[in-house]
């Protein structure tokens, strides 16, 4: 990479060979790292098709584990719950996040820096702290509510959804703000100049142009919600089961090819979502 200009003569050959030697080492490192990153994934996927009932070595091909998966009502229910939470929280946090991003990028107001900090905090705070804070908060406020009105609320899908919205808003804001930063304000002026009022300007110009950013933010929120374990684990209630929590419980007991199968499916969903988000970003 870096070249020494001590001698003039070997300028061409010496530098090139050095460069390629450096790049070769970096390339080898990259390949090894990629193997490190992908070998576990490949093994996991492969062993979801093994006959071995411990799911850790190859003893022949079968689709049996996927069949059993589909018959597992408990897992399917958990998957549906997860999907419900992810969809609801994504819709809400995308709307709120987009509004917040617009406010932050378009206006200057007192307390803006403070709010900026509040927006970044959920991203950098250790997830477990946010999770136990939400647990404490729900228990605390439900307790007060019961004391005041006799109403007994319980943790469940509702609390999980609220918590997921709270931790995904910030991510949506970051993504949408990035797309607003590249937005040429002159375009809005041009639209108004041509007779579009504020709403028409937003509808015909601003929204279509920042839509890739909004969709990108929504996909990120959806993935985060779908995959989240820690906050879900702390804010869910008895009798409500969500997929990552369910998988965690089963994994703690034993490795089984069935978990390999469900994990493979979860990987598949995630990878599809990455592709989708990259595709949308490229089209911009």
């Amino acid at each position: 990479m870096l070249d020494t200009p001590t001698t003039r003569k070997p300028y061409v050959t010496g530098m090139d060979s050095r460069r390629s030697a450096g790049m070769l080492a970096l390339g080898a490192h990259t390949i090894l790292t990629m193997v490190f990153l992908y070998a576990p994934i490949v093994v996991l996927v492969a062993f979801s098709f093994t006959r071995d009932s411990f799911g850790v070595r190859w003893t022949g091909f079968t689709l049996d584990w996927y069949r059993r998966l589909l018959a597992d009502q408990r897992l399917l229910g958990a998957a549906l719950n997860t999907l419900y939470v992810a969809l609801t929280s994504t819709i809400v946090s995308t709307i709120i996040g987009t509004m917040t991003a617009l406010a932050m990028e378009r206006y200057h107001f007192r307390g803006r820096t403070g709010f900026d900090a509040l927006l970044y905090l959920p991203i950098v705070i250790p997830e477990i702290v946010m999770a136990l804070a939400l647990l404490a908060f729900f228990a605390f406020s439900f307790g007060i509510l019961e004391l005041l009105s006799g109403l007994r609320l319980q943790m469940g899908l509702g609390t999980v959804t609220i918590a997921h919205i709270a931790f995904t808003i910030s991510f949506v804001v970051v993504v949408v703000r990035a797309s607003l930063k590249g937005f040429d304000m002159r375009l809005e002026e041009a639209a108004q100049d041509l007779g579009a009022n504020e709403w028409q300007t937003f509808r015909h110009i601003t929204l279509p142009l920042i839509l890739p950013g909004i969709i990108g933010g929504a996909l990120l929120a959806f993935t985060l919600s779908l995959d989240d374990f820690i906050i879900t684990f702390f804010t869910t209630g008895p009798g409500t089961s969500l997929l990552p929590v369910e998988v965690y419980g089963q994994v703690k007991r034993a490795i089984t090819p069935k978990i390999n199968a469900i994990s493979t499916l979860m990987l598949l969903v995630s990878i599809t979502l990455v592709f989708l988000s990259q595709f949308i970003q490229r089209r911009r």
């Binding site: 990479m1 870096l2 070249d3 200009p5 790049m23 970096l26 490192h29 990259t30 790292t33 990629m34 490190f36 990153l37 992908y38 070998a39 576990p40 994934i41 996991l44 411990f54 850790v56 070595r57 709120i96 996040g97 509004m99 917040t100 617009l102 406010a103 206006y107 107001f109 509040l118 927006l119 905090l121 950098v124 705070i125 250790p126 477990i128 702290v129 136990l132 804070a133 939400l134 404490a136 908060f137 605390f140 919205i165 931790f167 808003i169 995959d227 374990f229 702390f234 990552p244 998988v247 965690y248 994994v251 490795i255 978990i259 390999n260 979860m266 995630s270 990878i271 979502l273 990455v274």
Partner: protein, 300 residues
């Protein structure tokens, strides 16, 4: 002209004032939902944790509202807690360091590739970034298990099996594996902005490779290193899934204790858990501030 300026000091017209007020109304409308949600479901919960940390744990796990500092006292006196803090921070430092050493050259290689390859390689880094942490940790259980691939290879070589998992080594592997992409992406971003002709300029002025790297490239990519380190360090120190699954819950990390105090132990002890979380946040803040001070000093 000067006289005229003095006499006709411009005043805002009524219409302009009204428009400005409607702008403010619009801002309020846009701002309210986000502010409301984050204050109620993020800031307020943190306040509740602070409250709990000064409360007294009851015998059945119920919280009694008598002010006490005993929770904080316990944290600093009982070796169980002190050790958990130290162990977690050590794991965080080690993971961050290894991720940095592995991630920087990786990012450098990707940046120097032609655009098509860059896209593909970056994408390969992004996939683990987007996939489930739990699933990726679980994958290592399969590989490291007693009858797993690595042990099969060892056996095939005629050597005795090794108990690779559960172990602290397995935890470290899991942590590096889970966090590497978080290090690579910010470093990639800062290397992407780096002007590589600066290296030629440094070489032209007589700097050898090492010095050109240390004096030019490293300082200019420091923001990426700092961001990546924070992104790896914070979740690593607070994690409990990896140590639970790959460590077999044999040794206690900070996250495991927090999880146990809040959900599993019988009876749960929320006040102690809250105090532990508060101290954890304080330690993290100090560590990150220190780190930023060091990295920005190198900048100069």
């Amino acid at each position: 002209m000067a006289l005229e300026t003095l006499t006709s000091e411009p005043r805002e017209s009524r219409v302009a004032a009204l428009l400005r007020r409607s702008e403010r109304f619009r801002l309020g409308l846009l701002l309210f939902p986000g502010l409301f949600w984050l204050l109620l479901f993020f800031a307020l919960p943190l306040v509740v944790v602070v409250l709990y940390s000064f409360a007294t744990p009851g015998p059945t796990g119920r919280v009694e509202w008598h002010f006490t500092l005993a929770n904080y006292g316990t944290l600093f006196t009982e070796s169980l807690y002190v050790n958990a803090y130290l162990r977690s921070i050590w794991a965080g430092v080690l993971t961050t360091l290894i991720c940095l050493l592995a991630g920087y050259p990786l990012a450098l290689y990707i940046v120097r590739r032609p655009p098509r390859w860059r896209t593909v390689l970056l994408f390969l880094i992004l996939i683990p970034f987007w996939t489930n942490f739990l699933v990726r940790t679980y994958a290592w259980m399969i590989i490291l298990s007693n009858n797993g691939i690595i042990n099969s290879i060892i056996q095939a070589l005629g050597l005795p099996r090794v108990a690779l998992y559960p172990s602290e080594g397995a935890v470290l592997i899991g942590l590096i594996y889970g966090n590497l992409p978080f290090m690579v992406l910010p470093i990639f971003a800062s290397l992407d902005r780096f002007d590589f002709t600066l290296l030629e300029a440094a070489a032209d002025l007589g700097a050898d490779q090492t010095r050109a790297f240390l004096r030019v490239m490293l300082p200019l990519t420091m923001p990426g290193i700092a961001a990546g380190s924070v992104l790896v360090f914070i979740p690593t120190v607070g994690q409990f899934v990896v140590s639970d699954l790959l460590g077999g819950a044999k040794v206690d990390y900070l996250g495991n204790l927090l999880q146990r105090l809040f959900t599993r132990s019988n009876p749960p002890n929320w006040p102690l858990g809250s105090a532990m979380a508060i101290v954890f946040m304080a330690v993290l803040t100090v560590a990150i501030l220190l780190y930023f001070r060091i990295t920005t000093e190198q900048d100069r």
